[in-house]
Symmetry: C2
Subunit: 430 residues, 2 copies
């Protein structure tokens, strides 16, 4: 095992190494792998674990909300069942009166929130579609579907560097204070996508204390991985944002999003938004136009199945037991094969769904391409940046959730081979 950094190797050594890696790569291609680690999809074992949810309601069931006597099968309760609000509130650590429960995907709530701001403004502000320029800050690397929403609405995206403590707050503070065109920022504050970083207390407090030039500036706080710990003894917790904003005199500045997409089912969970009364009242006005109510039967099904926050946490411990070996398989191969070579760095998250890998500058696209040729699909290089443009072409998101641990090990074996091959080719100036 060669542990000398690649950049210290002589040209001859690199050429020799290149020949060997090329041979290994051709052999790997012959193995005909067919693995997908591109998306944060729950695995079949995780999905199987939640099947009991389909037994809690049957033709003999009481179909009324126990807290409000609402018949969940009929119209009504457009902002969600009281008990579902309570469950989602407990997950987010807020009080139930700050929560609206919606349909099966929090992404849809985020889309609706941006869409509504475009046509209706924010709590009385000018609709964004009437403004010449609307901008969002995009901590990067970040979540491609966030960037997809803002791009779709023609919102200009400004990347902000990420650190292990969260976005670079010096930059965030400066930009939002100076530019009233900046209307929002995308955040995944806990076990971030793709790094698995959790924002430090200081970062959260600085967010809550922002003094934006735009009164309709909002923080889009996507707490997608709020209960998605991998390790019992290394659980990361962040400060609760809604109350921090309140304390800092900015009660209306944040929308928090969460869902059970990666708790119950990716396609059939329930989702929620938490915000101040002012924001929720404004949102309810548009919801009253948009729908006669979301699927309350599914809300009741979730509450009856999980019962409460303890039930959620117990379920997530079972998920962690499935996910952990996959993350560890990736880490094991990365460490064994790449440690010391100085051709890549990667994160070691304690939760969430992703590992972020940074290759040598200019190598990410080529690595993803080489993996694909040999049968392993990664998230497209660049996807973690606004407009799909990674300025250094170095970041790759690894999503270990769907394949088995054995498949993950195989896929990562191929991945590190491609990293080595592309890195050597770069160093050789090929």
């Amino acid at each position: 095992m060669m542990k000398k950094p690649y950049h210290e190797l002589s040209r001859e050594q690199l050429q020799e190494l290149h020949e060997q890696l090329l041979k290994d790569y051709e052999n790997a291609k012959d193995r005909g792998l067919n693995l997908d680690m591109s998306r944060g999809k729950p695995s079949i074992s995780q999905l199987d674990m939640g099947m009991g949810i389909f037994d809690v309601l049957n033709s003999e069931s009481d179909m009324k909300s126990s807290m409000e006597k609402v018949d969940v099968r009929n119209y009504g309760a457009p902002d969600g069942l009281m008990e579902a609000k309570q469950m989602m509130a407990d997950i987010m650590g807020v009080s139930a009166d700050h929560v609206i429960v919606c349909g099966n995907a929090s992404l849809n709530i985020m889309y609706d929130t941006v869409s509504r701001s475009m046509t209706q403004g924010v709590m009385g502000s000018t609709p964004w579609c009437k403004l010449d320029r609307v901008k969002f800050l995009c901590p990067s690397p970040g979540y491609d579907r966030h960037f997809g929403i803002t791009e779709y609405f023609g919102i200009e995206m400004i990347p902000v560097p990420m650190t292990p403590q969260g976005p670079d707050m010096d930059i965030v503070e400066k930009l939002v204070a100076e530019d009233a065109g900046i209307k929002g920022i995308w955040c995944v504050p806990k076990y971030s996508n793709p790094q698995g970083y959790s924002y430090s207390d200081e970062t959260v407090r600085r967010f809550a204390a922002l003094r934006p030039a735009a009164e309709d500036f909002r923080i889009f706080w996507d707490n997608a991985y709020v209960v998605h710990h991998l390790y019992e003894d290394r659980q990361e917790e962040i400060l609760e944002m809604l109350s921090e904003c309140g304390k800092a005199g900015n009660p209306d500045m944040v929308y928090e999003f969460a869902s059970t997409s990666k708790i119950s089912f990716a396609g059939a969970g329930i989702s929620a938004i938490a915000a101040s009364k002012g924001n929720l009242d404004f949102i309810r006005k548009s919801m009253a136009i948009q729908t006669i109510g979301f699927d309350k039967v599914n809300q009741l099904r979730h509450v009856r199945y999980f019962k409460n926050f303890e039930g959620i946490k117990a379920h997530m411990r079972k998920h962690a037991a499935i996910l952990r070996p996959k993350f560890e398989a990736v880490q094991e191969v990365l460490e064994r094969e790449l440690e010391g070579l100085e051709i890549g760095t990667w994160t070691k998250p304690n939760g969430g769904y992703f590992i972020s890998f940074d290759a040598l500058d200019g190598c990410a696209k080529a690595i993803v391409e080489k993996c694909k040729e040999a049968g392993v699909i990664l998230t497209g290089a660049g996807a973690t940046y606004p407009y799909g443009r990674d300025p250094k072409d170095s970041n790759i998101r690894i999503a270990p959730s769907f394949p088995t641990p054995e498949e993950m090990a195989m896929a990562t074996d191929l991945f590190v081979l491609c990293v080595k091959l592309v890195s050597v080719e770069k160093l050789l100036g090929m």
Copy 2:
């Protein structure tokens, strides 16, 4: 029983009648009714009838789409399960490749469709939010929630008179041909809300053959009551609009909407949009940003439960058996009490969820108010017109679905009493 038209009564006769009606009304108030016939809500018996749907999926179930092998619990199939498309297509009488299946409410698809047109335009046209004026034609009386959507987006609404054959097509044809600011029209073509009228073949063909000045003009064809017949032997059918538009050279001019909200559950059904490939491709682009997929578990549940279109029709026959006596109870009271008095006319629908009542001009608000005082809630007067403004203040929507037939008879007894009382007061110039 006085059967002479009120307007032929002498002032003395009217005064005498008024005294009697006032007494009756005071007595009615003392009875302390508490009935709601304001909304088209399915009754508990209807909801109970569909409870079997909660037994078709359980923890032992195969959770894969049989037509595409998609795991319905996971991400994927954003435009709907193949078998759900087929079922919704059969309901609408179109082919499955013209259908996208969405979440639990077609109202939400309509909202999204208008919202998307505002910010993204229609198949390449200028976004409506960038135009000075956007207008919709609103056949009236019509559905308040349709008008609510267009009002919310600041779209100017132009009422168009309704006839028993559908909207007045002379007016529709003239307006859309002349004014490129007119971008849409709301239609409930079958068992219309609130009249229960079904568009004649001529009306449908004239719609399909419209020559709008605006290339981004769309017909919003809300086929909400497509299988909602009250009588086996008086089923009304309308021409299938998508193919009529194709035949007339206007394949892209219509969006058709349908749902199972009033088939399975008002809060937990599935919904669909049918349109041309051009429209659907444009919609799919925004859906790919908006969501990672709607609730496919609920789609599968519906398909497994109803099986096919025959299953839907059989289920709807059971609904009809519940709804018919309620409609008949209303009709019976209206005929017995108001026939010949010339103080009101009403529709006698063969399907749908409503009866439309027209009082003497200037009486609707007062009638609704008097009913409310005595404990019977009707849809607000004016609600059936854009901006809630009924120019003649005469139309009242009656929604017989939720109360029992006995309650409906009681509520209608009060209603006719209020109609008489308010009419006499009008004739007396009070």
